[in-house]
Structures are given as structure tokens and as C-alpha cells.
């Protein structure tokens, strides 16, 4: 990743010798490069933490002497101690095991959501941008409509009706998150389809499907990857929010959101019950955002626009 970010010598020179550019771009140009590097350090650190956390979600419960649903693993409502690092809940289950098992479920759901959202969004965006005309008009209209409807209402209603399983929750979240990525992919396809290599492919007699998937799609891979990464963070937050409202994956499955929901009544006496799962959700989301931001810069150092 870092080597993608550091511009090659000739590019730097090209930037530099563009004398006109120096006066404005170079305002912070050397520092911008420096910042890019720092951004990447952050992204690299973030990626490390993410990998580390994810592995620990599987390793910690496996090494733990307790199982996540073992009632009475310790004295109920115990503060963190050497025996129970995160303490115990009101029926004496070991919270550390529960939090890490919860992370396991949450990260699986988040990954599922991110992939589903990306696939739906990318396909709709690609079709919309590539074919244009009435297809584009219709799909853009649908996209607008989804954006106008308060997402939480639909989430809640659907979760109430179909919810509870991880797959159902993932699809419900994805069904409401795709417009963002769809707009981005649509924009990319709109610009790419007018470029020479696409004209050339068309002149060579390639069919639309082939042009879309073989010629254009690979070029949109970078931005799609960035969005997918950011979606993981969004999905973790949405999942925990749904669970917090008791509408996510149903107990006894311990997702991070469920654990926070269970802890919300105890903030005056046992705040740690909330802080551990909440801290991990925030940490995952933060790392994902740093990683996504770093990826975006690495892939396209010229466009420094953020959302």
C-alpha cells in the first residue's frame, strides 16, 4: 500500500516542474506528501489493529476457560478481576468471553453487510452509468427514493418482521445502504464509458456485458474497495444500534450491540459492562475509517476530497 502512495520520482518531478502548479498546489505540497505518509502510517496501524482484533475474536473465546453462555461462570455482577478480566454479568457469565464472541458475530455480520451492499450498489450503479438513458433515469429515481425514506423506519419495520437471523439483518442493512456506492460507481462508469479504450473495445465488437465487466469494472476496483472498507465500519455501527433497540440479532447470540443493550441499565453501577463492548465497536469503526481514508489517498492522491 505504502509504495502505491509514494509517487515515483518522475511524477514528483512532473508535479514540481509544473511551475504554475507550484504556486498553489505546493502551498503544502511537500507537507501533503508527508501527511499522506502519516495517513498511511495510521492506515497501516489501523489495519494491524483490525487484524489483531479479528483474530482475537476467535482466539480469546477458544482459550477462555468459560464459554460465552456459561451461566454462573463466576459470581454475578463482579467487577473486572484477575479471574474475570472484564467482570461478569448479572447471571454470572464471563464478560470477556462474551465480548470477544460478540465481536466474532458482529464482524461477520459487518463483513456480510459490506459485501452485499457493494454487490447490490456496484451492479445497479454500473448498469445505470453504462446504459444511461431511461434505464439510468429509472434507477436514479429509485436511488433517490431510497435516500428519501428514513432508513431507520424501514430498518426497524423490516427487522421487526424478518429480523433476528444474522443473514436477515445483513440483507436488511444492505438493502438500505447501497445507494451511496451505487452513485459512486455510476459516476465512474459514466466517465469511463466515454474513454478511448472503451470506444476501442466497442469498435472491436465487444458485447456490452464484456465491456462492462472486462474493460470498465477493473478500473473502478479502487474506489469500490474504499467504499467496501468504509461500509464495514458503518455496518458495525448500524448492527450495534439495531441490537441496542432490541431489533438486531436476537439473544442468546452475543453481538457487541446486544451486550451494550444488556449493559445500558447498569451504567450507574457497572459502567465497565458498557465500556468494553462500546470501546471495541468504536475501535473497529475508527480503524476501518482510517484504513478507508488511507486507501482513498493511496489510490488517488490528487483528489483529497473527503465525503
Amino acid at each position: 500500500m505504502t509504495d502505491v502512495a509514494t509517487p515515483r520520482v518522475s511524477e514528483t518531478a512532473a508535479v514540481l516542474i509544473e511551475a504554475e502548479a507550484i504556486t498553489t498546489e505546493a502551498k503544502s505540497w511537500s507537507r501533503q506528501t508527508w501527511e499522506r505518509l502519516l495517513h498511511h502510517k495510521l492506515a497501516v496501524v489501523a489495519a494491524f489493529i483490525l487484524v489483531f482484533l479479528t483474530i482475537s475474536f476467535w482466539v480469546v473465546p477458544a482459550l477462555s476457560p468459560y464459554s460465552f453462555d456459561q451461566v454462573g461462570a463466576g459470581v454475578p455482577r463482579q467487577a473486572p478481576s484477575a479471574k474475570h478480566w472484564f467482570g461478569t454479568d448479572q447471571i454470572g457469565r464471563d464478560l470477556m468471553t462474551r465480548v470477544f464472541t460478540g465481536g466474532q458475530f458482529s464482524i461477520r455480520i459487518a463483513a456480510l453487510v459490506a459485501i452485499t451492499t457493494t454487490v447490490i450498489g456496484a451492479v445497479i450503479g454500473a448498469i445505470s452509468g453504462f446504459f444511461g438513458g431511461w434505464i439510468d433515469a429509472t434507477l436514479s429515481w429509485v436511488t433517490n427514493m431510497v435516500l428519501v425514506i428514513p432508513a431507520l423506519v424501514i430498518l426497524l419495520v423490516l427487522a421487526l418482521r424478518f429480523g433476528s437471523g444474522p443473514w436477515a439483518i445483513a440483507f436488511i442493512i444492505a438493502a438500505l445502504s447501497w445507494p451511496r456506492i451505487s452513485r459512486i460507481v455510476r459516476g465512474l462508469f459514466l466517465s469511463y464509458k466515454e474513454q478511448d479504450f472503451v470506444h476501442a473495445a466497442r469498435a472491436a465488437g465487444a458485447r456490452p456485458g464484456r465491456i462492462m465487466f472486462r474493460h470498465i469494472l477493473p478500473n473502478t476496483f479502487g474506489p469500490i474497495m474504499v467504499e467496501t472498507t468504509l461500509n464495514v465500519g458503518a455496518a458495525i455501527i448500524i448492527e450495534s444500534t439495531l441490537s441496542f433497540l432490541s431489533l438486531g440479532v436476537q439473544p442468546p447470540v452475543p453481538t457487541l450491540g446486544n451486550l451494550m443493550n444488556e449493559a445500558k441499565g447498569a451504567i450507574d453501577s457497572r459502567a465497565y459492562e458498557l465500556l468494553f463492548p462500546g470501546g471495541i465497536v468504536t475501535m473497529i469503526s475508527l480503524c476501518v475509517n482510517f484504513l478507508g481514508d488511507g486507501l482513498r489517498d493511496a489510490l488517488d492522491p490528487t483528489s483529497r476530497r473527503t465525503r
Binding site: 518531478a13 514540481l16 511551475a19 505546493a26
Partner: protein, 329 residues
């Protein structure tokens, strides 16, 4: 006394791949009312040196040397005092008129603003003056045009508005940074004419920065050719055209399209590309592209040689250049 005296001006940009010497120890003077053309390819340091004089470079740029303007040492002035000179005694015309005007303010307002900023005038007086200035630079219906926004102007018209803005306070020095580069070829001459008229009307000295030697004829009295951050040749305009002593100057001249050339003649281009300032060759920066290159050129950077009073060049072979050129043809 000269109006502008630049001595050993050096601009260094620190980058994570090393320091870039964008302008390397350049010195020149400019008399009151004189027009100096600064010519070179992109990356030669011509624009950067102008920005350095105007103190418009980012804080990260390290600028050293001495710039004396009208008795004041510009590089040492506090920004507060410098701002009294900017737009007042020294004014700039920028390259791209499409982006150099603020899109959300009316053209008249933007011209009036520079007057209000430096003169003790009412808004109304400044507005009236703005309309007069628009008329001076050849904009038809100036009072209506002053009420329009930049996007309602064509490229040439916008550049005229920029010229009007630049001469609003009768500056002593005009710096025109590639004023016609971004314009359509058809209107370049008109805009150049407007600049010349404006310069003559105010009696200002002018630094005309361009990569096009053809633009310089008939406007400038002196030409300074720059390459790789250094001055390569500096001479009165006639010497540049008829007795230049630098292969790079020759290259620039030969690259001009000529009306008297045979129709099938291929337009000359200087081989290679502008230098990478991070990786300049040890000797003469132009040596990798020079057709008369010698071993000495690759080894050492040539010093200035005086061809005649007022004409200096930076070339090891300046004395034999005319013969070499004849032999080469």
C-alpha cells in the same frame, strides 16, 4: 537607480525526496518603465521567481537573496507592509483568467476592491473608476459588464478584466505571468496588445513571463532566458534574436513557427524534455539536450560570460557557437 534589483534570489522547496532548487541564484535589474521578458520552458523557475518577489509562495518555500524594490527590501518587509505594496506598487496578471477571478463576485466589484484597498475612496468612486478601467482595456459596454460575473465573460474578456485590475492603482511594476498561454490563439495577440497599451498608459515597468519568444518581440526591451532554475542568457532583445550565444536560446528561437519557412519544413523541437530538478546533471543543466555538447559541459556548470556589455550567457562554447551552428546546418 533601478526600480527592481534582484540579487542571488534562490527558492528551495523541501520535499521528502530531497530539496528542490526551483530558482538558483538569479540576479537581474529592471529600470523604471522597462519591459523585461523572462523566457523558458515550464520548470525553468520563471514563475517561481516572480511569486518569490511578490511573496506569494507557500510558507514551506525557502527564499533567500535580496530583492530591492523602489528602495525597499521586499523579502525582509513584514507582511503587513508588504500588503501595501502588493496590488498597489506591484500588480500581477495571472496565467489562467478562467480561475483567477472569484466566481461569486461581480467583475466590477473585484476591480473596485483593489482600489478601495489601497486608496482612500468611496465605494461609488471606486466603482466608477472600475468602469473607466474596463473601458481602457477595451471592454465594450463597460458599465453593463462591470455588473456581470466572471462566468459571463469570455476568456479574453476575463484577462482584460485582470489587466484592468492590475493597473487600477497605477503600479510601478507589472508582473504578467504567462498572460496569454491559457487563451485561444486567435485572441492572444489582442490581449497582448491590451497589456502593452495598459503598460504604456501607466508607464509601469513590466516583467513579462512567457515560454513563447515570439510574444516578446515588439514588447520587451530585454530578454532573460531561464533553464533549470538558472538564468542562461540575458541580453537586449535584438541580441537575443540576432546574436544569441546560448544553444538553449537558439533552440527556443528555432522552435518558433515561421511565416517564411518552406511549407513542408518540419517545425523544429528541442529534443528531450525539461529537466528533473531533483536530478540535475552535474554539469550544464541543458547538456543532455544540447546538440553542441562537449565533455566540459557534462563536467562543470558554466559561469556567466560577458558577450558584450549588457549581454551575458552561461555556455562553455559561447564564442564558437556561431561557427558551430553554421557547420551544423
Amino acid at each position: 537607480m533601478a526600480l527592481l534589483e534582484v540579487e542571488n534570489l534562490k527558492v528551495v522547496f523541501p520535499t521528502d525526496e530531497g530539496e528542490v532548487e526551483a530558482v538558483n541564484e538569479i540576479s537581474f535589474t529592471l529600470d523604471y518603465g522597462e519591459v523585461l521578458a523572462v523566457v523558458g520552458e515550464s520548470g525553468s523557475g520563471k514563475s517561481v521567481s516572480a511569486m518569490a518577489i511578490m511573496r506569494l509562495l507557500p510558507k514551506t518555500a525557502r527564499v533567500t537573496g535580496r530583492v530591492e524594490f523602489d528602495g525597499k527590501s521586499l523579502l525582509e518587509l513584514p507582511m503587513k507592509h508588504m500588503r501595501r505594496i502588493m496590488g498597489n506598487d506591484i500588480a500581477m496578471i495571472f496565467q489562467d483568467p478562467m480561475t483567477a477571478l472569484n466566481p461569486v463576485f461581480k467583475v466590477g466589484e473585484q476591480i473596485a476592491e483593489i482600489i478601495e484597498n489601497h486608496r482612500d475612496v468611496s465605494k461609488r468612486q471606486a466603482g466608477t473608476r472600475a468602469v473607466e478601467l474596463l473601458e481602457l482595456v477595451g471592454i465594450p459596454e463597460p458599465s453593463r459588464r462591470a455588473q456581470q460575473y466572471p462566468h459571463e465573460f469570455s476568456g479574453g474578456m476575463r484577462q482584460r478584466a485582470m489587466i484592468a485590475m492590475a493597473i487600477a492603482n497605477d503600479p510601478k511594476l507589472l508582473i504578467a505571468d504567462e498572460p496569454t498561454t491559457a487563451l485561444d490563439v486567435t485572441i492572444q495577440a489582442q490581449v497582448m496588445e491590451a497589456i502593452k497599451t495598459a503598460q504604456e498608459a501607466t508607464g509601469a515597468a513590466m516583467m513579462l513571463i512567457t515560454h513563447d519568444l515570439g510574444l516578446v518581440a515588439g514588447v520587451a526591451q530585454r530578454v532573460q532566458v531561464m533553464y533549470g532554475g538558472r538564468v542562461f542568457e540575458s541580453a537586449p532583445i535584438d541580441s537575443i534574436f540576432y546574436d544569441n550565444r546560448n544553444p538553449y536560446t537558439r533552440g527556443l528561437l528555432n522552435a518558433l513557427p515561421r511565416l517564411d519557412a518552406r511549407t513542408h519544413a518540419k517545425l523544429y523541437t528541442i529534443p528531450g524534455s525539461p529537466p528533473d530538478l531533483l536530478r540535475l546533471p552535474p554539469g550544464c543543466a541543458f547538456s543532455p539536450r544540447c546538440e553542441f555538447v562537449t565533455d566540459e559541459c557534462r563536467r562543470s556548470i558554466p559561469d556567466f560570460a560577458e558577450v558584450e556589455p549588457g549581454h551575458v550567457t552561461r555556455c562553455h562554447n559561447w564564442e564558437s557557437l556561431p561557427e558551430l551552428a553554421r557547420a551544423g546546418v
